[in-house]
């Protein structure tokens, strides 16, 4: 096939009408599992003949047993111990923009801390008018906010700087989740403590065994930071900081201190281990960028992807997620030919500030090889870059802040591979 023909045929695939009739004839399941015919029409399925479980069988409901593959996964070789490690959100199995609480990726530095909420205290000290202590009940009496925000680890995609390394959407993009937080604006807590004019930075500190600490500038604290106690309508999960975590919208996840015990105001940054030896971005000349907080715009196609091969020819959806720490997603483009030609996808409301945004675009697959990409553009007109654009400026040793466009190779069998183009 010549390049010209390839271009035309691939472009036409985006057109939902053209060629559908012809393709419909060839539509068949390529990799789908075989159904038990006893349960198919005209037979009466086995589950219809028996009673199901009663209302007291599952006081806290769990997903269907047939969804047991939808779990967080870790990469064992990445870290020395599971207590100071990370697992990944199964983005490929999720719909919409809400991440179920039990599937939100975990990143701990000293394991999941268990705190009895009766014993919980939040201390605010340093350059305030009054050093104070709040209980969990105290925090819940303040004016409340309910906001959706994505939380992304700055190292999401960090293994892919030098090439396609992990063959999965979950492992290459899964250090992100998106939930609705309930909490009190930090600026409201400051109504109680007062704030001295010399206060320019805050140290947020966790009470886990890593004593997680990060410095945050006062402008961000006053703008939109939240001291949160609930996610998606229920108490925070232990692995997400129960009973209280900090929410730092649009900024790297490491700053969203879990099991939050203390906020200290000071006139200078504290230069903690996390913001000096980690979460600094090493450039090729040996210097490192420090305090790179914002998570730049990013997107990923969650279906198809390496874990979600194409199992039917014909009409179907490309679906994915986009997000930006600089605001709302304005547009997402999708390419089937490795970035040569693009078409704009549909964004599904709600399109929220600093939140995951769902996009889809219909296409028809006739069994040919494709190179799938998605490209996010946010409301600041920032365009998600290619890996080459990032490497040109930052080299390959940054670890953090890889927000480049990924490529999924759709093979003729429908299997999908994470590949690097160059």
């Amino acid at each position: 096939m010549t390049d010209k023909k390839k271009l035309i045929s691939r472009r036409s695939l985006f057109s939902t009408g053209a060629g559908l009739g012809a393709l419909a004839l060839t539509t068949k399941s390529l990799l789908a599992k075989e159904a038990n015919k006893k349960n198919l029409p005209p037979n009466v399925p086995e589950w219809t003949e028996a009673l199901g479980e009663g209302v007291d069988a599952n006081p806290y409901g769990m997903p269907s047993e047939f969804e047991s593959h939808v779990v967080r996964r870790n990469v064992e070789w990445l870290t020395a111990s599971t207590e100071s490690s990370v697992n990944f959100t199964p983005l490929q199995d999720l719909e919409g923009i809400v991440t179920p609480n039990g599937l939100c990726f975990e990143r701990h530095h000293g394991g999941t801390t268990i705190i009895n909420p009766t014993d919980y205290r939040l201390m605010i000290n340093g350059l305030v008018d009054r050093e104070m202590i709040f209980t969990l009940d105290d925090l819940k009496r303040f004016p409340q906010v309910n906001k959706f925000y994505f939380l992304e680890c700055a190292a999401n995609g960090g293994m892919e700087w030098r090439g396609a390394q992990l063959n999965g959407c979950q492992y290459t993009f899964g250090m992100v989740h998106n939930v609705q937080y309930t909490g009190v604006k930090l600026s409201d807590l400051l109504q109680e403590t007062g704030l001295k004019n010399s206060a320019k930075w805050i140290l947020a500190e966790g009470s886990d065994s890593s004593g997680m600490t990060r410095s945050i500038p006062i402008e961000k604290i006053k703008d939109d930071c939240i001291v949160a106690w609930a996610m998606n309508g229920e108490a925070l999960r232990p692995e997400q900081g129960y009973p209280v975590r900090l929410v730092v919208p649009g900024w790297e996840g490491n700053m969203w201190v879990k099991w939050l015990r203390r906020l200290e105001f000071g006139d200078k940054p504290y230069m903690t281990r996390e913001e000096t030896s980690k979460y600094t971005d090493l450039l090729s000349d040996g210097n490192a960028r420090m305090f790179t907080w914002v998570m730049d715009a990013k997107s990923v196609i969650t279906s198809p992807c390496p874990e979600k091969p194409i199992i039917h020819r014909g009409f179907q959806q490309i679906s994915g997620l986009a997000w930006s720490g600089r605001g709302k997603i304005k547009r997402v483009d999708v390419s089937l030919d490795g970035g040569k030609n693009w078409k704009t996808a549909q964004l599904h409301p709600p399109v929220l500030d600093k939140s995951l945004t769902r996009f889809t675009i219909p296409f028809e697959w006739g069994g040919e090889e494709l190179l799938l990409q998605s490209r996010a553009i946010d409301e600041s007109n920032y365009v998600q870059p290619t890996i080459q654009e990032l490497q040109k400026i930052r080299g390959v040793n940054s670890i953090y802040h890889n927000n480049s466009i990924a490529t999924w190779l759709i093979t003729k069998s429908g299997k999908v591979d994470n590949v690097r183009l160059g």
């Binding site: 870790n74 999965g168 000349d285």
Partner: protein, 215 residues
């Protein structure tokens, strides 16, 4: 005249309100005041300028035994790191190489950060069990292994803010992002774009993906 009196009255009233509320300017009256003892127990952070450093001291000679007993199992006898546990020593001149080694010696910009981190979270799983003096000894031992101070140098709350670390000037501020190609009005190329589309690598070939995802 009556108007002026009324005006002054209003000024006085508002002043008295603002004065009284300045003393206790709490909008919601929620929470309790923290005592100095309560704050002292939790306020353990140490800043680069030495602010927050607790009273205490120690040298590398005395730090060796503590290191061997409480650190070496993970970090190795010479700070070389066991398995995937962090390497603490060495790495000089590697930061601009293909395989940078970021250690306390080659990368960490402040000695205060080592003290702060070791005291608050080390040994792994036994956080905040070291005394202040033990922590000064351990930090002195690490600095000595990295050839930053002599073995008999007494590190203390008085001088930890003055230690010069080799990579102190290796960090760039402020954040220069967005740092990649800017497109006019957020309008990147849509058709016949000049981009490389040759596959130069596949994750499948690297074969480091956990088993249940290999297809």
């Amino acid at each position: 005249m009556l108007g002026l009196v009324k005006f002054l009255f209003l000024v006085m009233t508002s002043l008295s309100i603002s004065f009284s509320s300045h003393a206790e300017n709490r909008k919601y009256n929620i929470g309790k005041l923290a005592t100095k003892t309560e704050v002292a127990g939790w306020d353990i952070d140490v800043r680069p300028d030495g602010v927050g450093a607790p009273k205490g001291s120690g040298n590398a000679i005395d730090g060796e035994e503590i290191y061997v007993n409480r650190c070496a199992a993970c970090h190795g006898d010479f700070g070389e790191g066991v398995d995937r546990w962090p390497v603490l020593v060495g790495g000089d001149g590697t930061l601009a190489s293909h395989d940078p080694e970021k250690t306390t010696g080659s990368y960490w910009p402040y000695a205060s950060t080592i003290f702060d981190y070791v005291y608050r979270s080390m040994p792994f799983g036994e956080a905040q069990t070291l005394t202040h003096d033990e922590t000064y000894k351990l930090v002195a031992y690490l600095l000595n292994m990295n050839e930053i101070i002599d073995e008999d140098f007494v590190l203390s709350d008085k001088n930890i803010g003055k230690i010069k670390m080799p990579n102190a000037s290796g960090f760039l501020l402020p954040d220069p992002r967005p740092d990649v190609t800017k497109y006019k009005d957020g309008q990147p190329c849509m058709k016949n774009c000049d981009v490389p589309v040759k596959i130069i690598g596949k994750a499948r070939d690297i074969d480091v993906t956990p088993d249940d995802e290999k297809s």
